[in-house]
């Protein structure tokens, strides 16, 4: 039986967890590290690096390395102008279409890049299951988490990323809800909880009621553009102002500054003052150094932290719960390690928040628990989540008529009747939106539907009922029926900021082709590396100070010539792309140098032993 996992696909870091023998476990690498930085670097030779290595390359391959891609999921290019300006990679796209991220000559959508991170997590989990001795270690199904305040387009983009990574996405669940599930495993079994989740790029607040194993979200609110990235940005601005005298530094220097301020921010969670140390880079050869106190840091970030309080109050009001009625407050997300954030939460709710579980890991654990519930059919626990934003359609005059109100428990439905305006009209256009504002222009456009196949009738006579369904993932679908004739209408969906199913299918096909190309590239690189190692070892032996002695005393006649020839032949093919030829010449050089290697080895051993007594050996 293949395996299922829970994945926290974060703005800054991602991680994967699973349930084994009823116990949730976070999957770590050999060094015990659970976090995979959500960074992807595209090397010039076609190699793709994900995670720590990609993060290191931010300083050296700045323009070829992509991070914080979650901020672009399900968004249009007009939405992200400000954010894109801070980032070293190209962000483009047609107005009202999917964003394209450009690296070198490649153009990719945010789901494709997220898929590379997901694929890395999938491999990590597969290695874990293989080591655990599972006969079938494949990981092909996952629950993936998203910020609770993600809209339909952002959820759909996340699901697309999962599919592109070769995963069946069993469920999209909300990060704070997942965290509550992780806490609910150990905590007392009833009460009202607030989950405050400040991650790398997003902020969520959810108010839940837990009773009889049912985790019911009463209300949720948030800001999908507020997180640790923004705290960093304030500090980066500050350093640029002081170190570069107002002129814009080159991208590699910005990355060095970013790395330094993140370190300083983390230091200040433990100490009262720290040093910002910017390493020298070609773009900023002098580097930079300055002292930062916690007090100054808090002064800089206070407005951002206060921005989280409005959504908290709104969520409480929507839940019909007063702050003092909250029994437990749970902190999630790396940014909740910042002491000012903790104090703000404590002041608002009047109680000390929980932070027993690692705030970086609780979400993945909750996702794994949910994945286990889905495949095992266990019924002890049930998550009842809500839709974060009202769903509506555009009516006359650009006004939005709301069909499903925010904080409705999902799955949920909304219905609306449509008719025709012209005799024998056979199609009607419907514009679907998400948001709380009155006017369509102020809400988020989700999709335009075209209802086709309406039986020809005089204007105003058809009664077309459109049913909108929000499923347990918080994702929308629609169906339509003409009630007089009972004729089912076809609906053509044009997502406003996402891809159609056909586009995702095409990408999947392309990625299979690419997967083969990627695999070939990988094999070629491996062959070159092996060849390089053999060639270098041979050259090293030829440079030995005692080499003439070796040739005269121990090599057969013509042996040296044969070695030199094989080395020359290998070097001739080494940079080419014919992998078979590289392998052939590598093996030829190996054969030719076998005797030499023995001789050299013996001499080295003799030299090492000389001058030592037997006891030392």
């Amino acid at each position: 039986m293949s395996n299922v996992v829970g994945i926290d696909l974060g703005t800054t870091n991602s991680l994967v967890a699973c349930v084994r023998d009823g116990v949730p476990v976070v999957i770590r690498d050999s060094r015990g590290d659970a976090l995979v930085p959500s960074v992807v670097s595209f090397a010039e030779d076609g190699t793709v690096y994900v995670g720590r290595e990609a993060q290191r390359r931010l300083l050296t391959e700045t323009g070829r390395t992509v991070y914080s891609v979650k901020r672009f999921m399900g968004r249009g290019v007009d939405d992200v102008v400000d954010e894109a300006r801070r980032l070293p990679f190209r962000v483009s796209g047609e107005p009202g279409g999917v964003i394209r991220i450009g690296v070198g000559d490649r153009e990719m959508t945010p789901p494709e890049i997220s898929a590379l991170v997901l694929r890395e997590l999938k491999h990590r989990a597969e290695a874990f299951f293989r080591e655990a001795g599972e006969f079938d270690f494949e990981v092909d199904r996952a629950v993936i988490t998203v910020p609770a305040y993600f809209n339909d387009a952002q959820r759909t983009a996340t699901r697309d990323a999962g599919r592109l990574a070769g995963l069946e996405v069993l469920r999209i669940i909300n990060e704070p809800t997942a965290a509550s599930l992780a806490y609910g495993l150990e905590a007392s079994n009833r009460g009202t909880i607030a989950v405050y989740d400040l991650g790398g790029g997003t902020f969520d607040i959810s108010i839940l009621k837990v009773e009889d194993g049912v985790f019911q979200v009463l209300a949720t609110n948030g800001d999908t553009r507020l997180g640790g990235d923004d705290l960093d940005a304030v500090l980066i601005e500050q350093v640029i102002g002081e170190a570069c005298g107002g002129s814009a530094p080159p991208p590699d220097a910005v990355q060095a500054i970013r790395k330094a301020v993140i370190q300083a921010k983390q230091d200040l969670s433990e100490q009262d003052r720290t040093e910002i140390v910017v390493e020298p880079t070609p773009g900023m050869p002098g580097g930079y150094r300055a002292t930062l106190t916690r007090e100054r840091f808090e002064g800089l970030i206070r407005p951002l932290v206060e921005r989280t309080l409005g959504p908290c109050r709104q969520a409480l009001a929507d839940a019909g719960v007063a702050a003092r009625e909250i029994d437990e407050v749970v902190l999630v997300g790396g940014s909740t390690r910042v002491p000012l954030v903790r104090r703000a939460v404590e002041d608002l709710f009047g109680r000390r928040p929980h932070a027993e579980l690692n705030p970086d890991e609780v979400v993945a654990i909750g996702a794994a628990v949910q994945a286990d519930i889905l495949v095992s059919g266990r019924r002890e626990m049930l998550l009842l989540d809500v839709t974060p934003l009202s769903l509506g359609i555009e009516t006359m005059g650009g006004v939005v008529s709301k069909l499903v109100l925010r904080n409705s428990t999902i799955p949920a439905t909304g219905r609306e009747m449509f008719t025709t305006g012209v005799d024998n009209q056979t199609a009607v256009d419907v514009h679907v939106l998400q948001g709380e504002r009155e006017l369509a222009a102020d809400c988020r456009s989700l999709a335009r539907f075209r209802l086709r196949g309406i039986p020809p009738m005089p204007a105003g006579l058809p009664r077309i009922e459109v049913a909108f369904q929000i499923d347990a993932n918080g994702i929308l679908s629609a169906s339509a029926r003409e009630l007089r004739t009972g004729v089912e209408q076809t609906i053509d969906v044009k997502p406003s900021y996402g891809m159609t199913d056909e586009q995702v299918e095409q990408m999947l096909l392309d990625s299979f082709e690419h997967a083969e190309a990627d695999f070939d590239a990988r094999m070629l690189i491996d062959a070159r590396n092996d060849a390089e190692t053999v060639a270098q070892a041979t050259e090293k032996a030829l440079r030995r100070p005692d080499f003439d002695d070796v040739v005269a005393g121990e090599l057969a006649a013509g042996e040296l010539e044969r070695i030199r020839e094989a080395l020359k032949a290998l070097k001739a093919v080494l940079r080419g792309s014919d992998r078979d030829e590289i392998l052939k010449q590598t093996s030829a050089l190996n054969d030719a140098t076998q005797h030499l290697a023995e001789v050299v080895m013996n001499r080295t051993v003799r030299a090492a032993l000389a001058g030592r007594n037997v006891a030392e050996v």
């Binding site: 049912v214 889905l374 049930l382 009842l384 409705s408 428990t409 799955p411 439905t413 369904q469 347990a472």
Partner: protein, 208 residues
């Protein structure tokens, strides 16, 4: 609970018609409900229908679970709030209050019962708006708005109490006249809510 599953094979049944929310919960058509009991029913039924528990089931059952839990959630949202419960029952009894988009009493004329309050309120609001545009002191204007809100809030509390009274009266008698009174009351209540929203908007328009 039995109504939702096949008596023969125990499989979840597809939702064939849009019955009524009361019946779905196994409740009589009553306007006064015990919130704790309703909530417990909701949780119990969620555990029965939720798509989480039908993940490995056949496609038809998965669909039935999605439909039934959607319907359950919709029913819960409407019945848990005493006012939306009244609105829903009025609809069932053929007395649906006009939708806002259709205008009618809710949007059109001022309900007679509220003429006095609305007149005073509108006068005050006009003055406050004029003062705001002329750059009047925001603190003073905020205080005036808060004062203007008081009589409206008082009226709202009266309406909530009356709504509860009439709800109990209908449960006891099932008289159509009571429903008609409820309908009037409901529309006036909606009018009051719109006034409150206007005040909120004005408060937000004031500089901090």
């Amino acid at each position: 609970m039995r109504a939702h599953f096949c008596p023969e094979c125990d499989h979840i049944l597809s939702l064939t018609r849009h019955g009524d929310y009361f019946a779905f919960f196994g409740l009589p058509r009553r306007l006064v409900l015990d919130p704790a009991d309703l909530e417990q029913r909701f949780r119990r039924m969620s555990r029965q229908f939720h798509p989480d528990f039908f993940h490995n089931a056949a496609a038809a059952e998965r669909l039935a679970s999605l439909e039934r839990s959607s319907y359950l959630n919709d029913a819960w949202r409407v019945l848990k709030d005493p006012a939306t419960r009244v609105e829903y029952l009025l609809g069932l009894e053929g007395l649906a209050p006009a939708k806002e988009s259709e205008g009618g009493a809710a949007r059109g004329g001022v309900p007679a019962a509220l003429l006095e309050e609305v007149f005073a309120f509108n006068e005050e609001l006009d003055e406050i708006r004029a003062a705001r545009e002329a750059g009047g002191d925001p603190h003073g204007l905020r205080a005036r708005l808060e004062r203007a809100r008081e009589p409206i809030e008082r009226k709202q509390r009266q309406y909530e109490a009356r709504l509860a009274e009439l709800s109990a009266a209908w449960d006891a008698s099932h008289r159509r006249g009571t429903l008609e009174e409820l309908r009037e009351l409901f529309l006036e209540r909606k009018y009051l809510r719109n006034l409150m929203e206007t005040i909120e908007r004005e408060l937000q328009a004031l500089p901090a």
